[in-house]
Symmetry: C2
Subunit: 381 residues, 2 copies
């Protein structure tokens, strides 16, 4: 298939590009490097040096004889987006081109406005470009499990059948996010749902949990192909940050009691999920929603598992509880459904001690590059 990956420079974007390229798809990546500029602005760098996209595509071609085409541009610009989609003529669009950080979106008015403008602006442009140029293309959009929040009932997969005063209706599952970032993902879902009905688009909206990991089959032998691995307070995800803290010999910082629970998945499973949904598009006029995670853990569970794995490598790890910088329930019901991706063929990777020690070993090899000055949270809401 011909596939355009928007946000192809990011943690998920580049790994997805390699994965789909190796699976035989014809891949074009697009990015404007906004995330890199923001990393620089916050003084936080990824753990591995990340060569620019053209360089990574060059290395990929040398090693695999496969081409990943690179386009640089700003997808909030309508004229650029339309001509990019026109030239690319994709069968599928993987839309990762959003600012992914809850703390960044809560830092101040400007970062909040940038998150709102960027995330909704890109989704809006992509929808219009598909409608005008390639209405049969399948949009695979990255949402987040955080759209649901932590309601007191089971989280279903995107939709809920409501019985009310003797009548019933099927609705989008009600959403309530924990940051402006999460709220932009809710708004994306609202917008996709409207245009799917109005224009009979094909859309898959992936409600993804926090991702961990760094090794994928495609990058493991080549440092230049490693993902954009962040571990700072603004862009890092929790397991990745704990691994770096363990290696750096500083305490793992659990927010509050750490009893908040979330659904997690390995980066390798993100790649599988995205490939599986892309290869089996929904019919026109369907908004398919998949809850994309593998296992539910509490944050404290994770800290203890990382500490235990670090212990196997002779590292002594302390766990600190910080005043929770976020507005989130620490004690809550959490029972999200996630069957669609298994039915599509997902072979999940679980979070084993082996997975954690392998991550620890790789981070250990890079330990001289760890910058511990941006790990503690400074943005509170």
């Amino acid at each position: 298939m011909k596939v355009a990956i928007l946000g192809g420079d990011g943690y998920l974007g580049w790994a997805t590009a390699m994965h789909l390229s190796l699976a035989g798809h014809d891949v074009t990546v697009c990015d404007n490097f906004l995330r890199r500029r923001l990393n620089a602005q916050f003084g936080s760098q990824p753990l591995f040096p990340v060569p620019d996209l053209a360089e990574r595509a060059h290395v990929w071609r040398q090693r695999t004889k496969r081409c990943i085409a690179v386009t640089v541009g700003d997808l909030t610009d309508w004229d650029f987006t339309r001509s990019f989609i026109e030239e690319c003529a994709p069968d599928a669009i993987i839309h990762y081109a959003e600012l992914p950080s809850a703390p960044f979106s809560m830092a101040n008015q400007r970062s909040s406005a940038l998150t709102l403008h960027n995330n909704l602006g890109v989704t809006h442009n992509v929808i219009h470009a598909v409608h005008e140029v390639c209405p049969d293309a399948h949009i695979v959009k990255l949402g987040t499990m955080g759209e649901y929040g932590t309601p007191n009932i089971d989280i279903e997969e995107g939709w809920i059948e409501v019985q009310h005063k003797g009548r019933h209706e099927r609705f989008l599952y009600p959403r309530q996010g924990g940051s402006l970032y999460h709220t932009t993902k809710i708004m994306d879902t609202d917008m996709l749902w409207f245009y799917v009905r109005a224009w009979k688009l094909r859309v898959t909206d992936l409600m993804q949990g926090p991702v961990y990991g760094m090794i994928t089959a495609e990058s493991s032998t080549e440092p230049a192909l490693m993902p954009h691995f962040s571990y700072d307070a603004v862009f890092g995800t929790v397991i990745n940050r704990f691994i770096v803290q363990a290696v750096a010999g500083i305490p793992l910082t659990v927010f509050g009691r750490g009893t908040q629970r979330r659904g997690f998945l390995n980066l390798e499973d993100t790649l599988q999920c995205v490939r599986l949904v892309m290869e089996t598009p929904p019919p026109p006029g369907e908004l398919r929603i998949c809850n994309q995670f593998v296992e539910v853990f509490s944050v404290l569970d994770l800290a203890e598992r990382v500490a235990q794995a670090a212990g196997e490598r002779g590292l002594t790890v302390k766990i600190d509880h910080l005043d929770n910088p976020r507005m989130e329930a620490e004690t809550h019901y959490y029972n999200p459904t996630h069957t669609t991706l298994r039915e599509l063929g997902l072979q999940p990777h679980c979070l084993s001690t082996e997975v954690l020690t392998q991550m620890i070993d790789i981070v250990w090899s890079q330990r001289s590059h760890i910058d511990t000055s941006h790990i503690l949270p400074t943005i509170r809401w």
Copy 2:
């Protein structure tokens, strides 16, 4: 109370300004005249010439000895918004500063992007300005009954208690709009709900039905104070358009079979509702949602009532059914709750023949100004 009315030049904005001024409140209006520019762009003018805001405030002051302060500026500009709110230091903010047209939002990518950018950008700026400058101020936000769409169960007032697999949760009532414009109002509600929880704002979100009417107690004696009364296909609302069609001697254009039902209210009731909610703010941390309409009619009901009232004035009226230019269900369940505003003291005006003939008489006095070339819908979705 000190009150800032955002979008104070519009159909509702100026009438609200006069109403609150006469009720003894200290009113400042703000507008950037975007709506006037778009009217000019579409070649559609309001029925009554509308003097500029400064002129209307001047006339108002001469007639009543009361001052309505006028500020001109673009509320999508953060620096302007923050300094405006700082200077105004309002107790309440009535937020009407949004593009109100479903057809405009569906015309093309640029009008859709402008609706998205303007509506969400202003709401976002207002929220941040209130949080930074006057966190106790009450935001009264104009939403729409169209956020709910036409679900197969009763529409509750903003919230719904869901029983699911033996557990229960109270959610924002699930929403699904019929245009990008309606979807921006849904997104506004999502955004307000997040920030109400995060920052303990006081917010009332008014789910308003289509408004009709032109006479308010404050404008009836002075042509310069009449509202911005549109009747074209892009900015006109249905009853107002039918009245103009009846006077112009052209058929009333019902979309499809006209069996779609909505909740309507008189402009005078909008003013009452807004004043009542403003004078009884919710506590900090509450998002109060009111369904703001008085009576439910089908579109065909309305056409028949207008035809009957026109008949009383000796006008013969034909009703035409057009292919529905909109994506909307024509046969649907519709039973929306609306008790909160009655409990707050709303004395509703019903749509009587007398109300309609009074509107017909006023429009008749202006019939030489009617431009029939922009009444038929040209934007389809």
